[in-house]
Amino acid sequence: MCDTCGCGDNTEHHHHNHNDHTHDHDHAHDHDHDHSHEGQVTIPVGRDILDINNRMAERTRGYFEAKDIYTVNIMSSPGSGKTTFLERTLTDLKEKKSFYVIEGDQQTSRDADRISATGVPVVQVNTGSACHLDAGMVNRAVKELNPENGSLVLIENVGNLICPSMFDLGEKSRIVMMSVTEGEDKPLKYPGMFRTSHLCIINKTDLLPYVDFKVETAVENGLKVNGRLKFLEVSALTGAGMEEWYKWLLANTG
């Protein structure tokens, strides 16, 4: 029944001239929610707050899948050695595979300049006030890079162990890096990041003799928050352990 005129017609219709007023009753909304025309109406929305990001990430993921491109999103605190790790990876593997890099930083193109020096195409994304890359930024960067079929796109996220974990970028794998100069309890302090990652790289192992960091404890803590997490120990500076990482990376590219 229509709430306004009481007729049995539930479809949209006009109510002419009752009460002798002349204002327009031509409302556009449906009659399918329960309310009176004078009062307030509560409308169920049920939309995910990250919906726009997630949809954009899925679009980018579809593009990667269609072009058989493998993507990783590398995340860590500032100063864990992500850029050095990428530099060595690119220098060692660029003859074997086609690589592209997306660099996320709040400001400057310093990291992109370092990657560019290896000869690999790179796009620097400056996030400005944002503390993470989002799917829209990566989508635009990918269009700029125009990566060839069968290549690898490595995304270095903004150094931050909290915010980036919430934003799907369309990547295939998520890697969290921690260095031995940080605490072994990083996984316990930042569980969101370690829970959503597939691989944990423990970097700067060349410094192990000088710091109070037990790899076993770090691994144990990582497994407490994510029982499926895999671990690799490397020194991006000396190259120790990098072969294992290359095996992991190339095994995933097919």
Binding site: H27, A28, H29, Q40, V41, T42, I43, P44, V45, G46, R47, D48, I49, L50, D51, I52, N53, S129, A130, C131, H132, D134, I162, C163, S165, M166, F167, L188, P191, G192, R195, L223, K224, V225, N226, G227, R228
Partner: protein
């Protein structure tokens, strides 16, 4: 401070949904933000307070439902309360645990 991004998204969603109803002002917004959604509630309140003026949400009362966490063991299927992301299944000891409730991040309803 991803709460600022989240707050901006909330306002955009509310504006879009209100516009569908022909309105540019809402009186109430109900959010559903789970305890395991990675949101600091006070930071989100603050971010909304900062961003709301001049938007559809300027005069909106905000209610926040905060569903508690619930986990499920990927190994044996046991379900249990899960508040911290940590621990092992009390039935089989596995650490391979999935979050099945508590990671909600939704605009549930608006009142105009």
């Amino acid at each position: 401070m991803h709460e600022l991004t989240v707050a901006g998204n909330i306002i955009n969603i509310v504006a879009t949904e209100a516009a569908k109803e022909g309105s540019n002002r809402v009186s109430e917004v109900c959010l559903e933000i789970g305890l395991l959604a990675g949101i600091e509630y006070a930071a989100l309140d603050f971010a909304l307070e900062v961003l709301a003026p001049g938007t559809v949400m300027e005069y909106a009362a905000i209610t926040m439902e905060k569903p508690g966490g619930k986990g499920k063991c990927n190994n044996c299927g046991y379900e249990f309360p899960f508040e911290t992301f940590m621990g092992s299944c009390s039935a089989c000891g596995s650490t391979d645990l999935a979050v099945i409730r508590g990671n909600e991040l939704r605009v549930k309803s608006i009142t105009i």
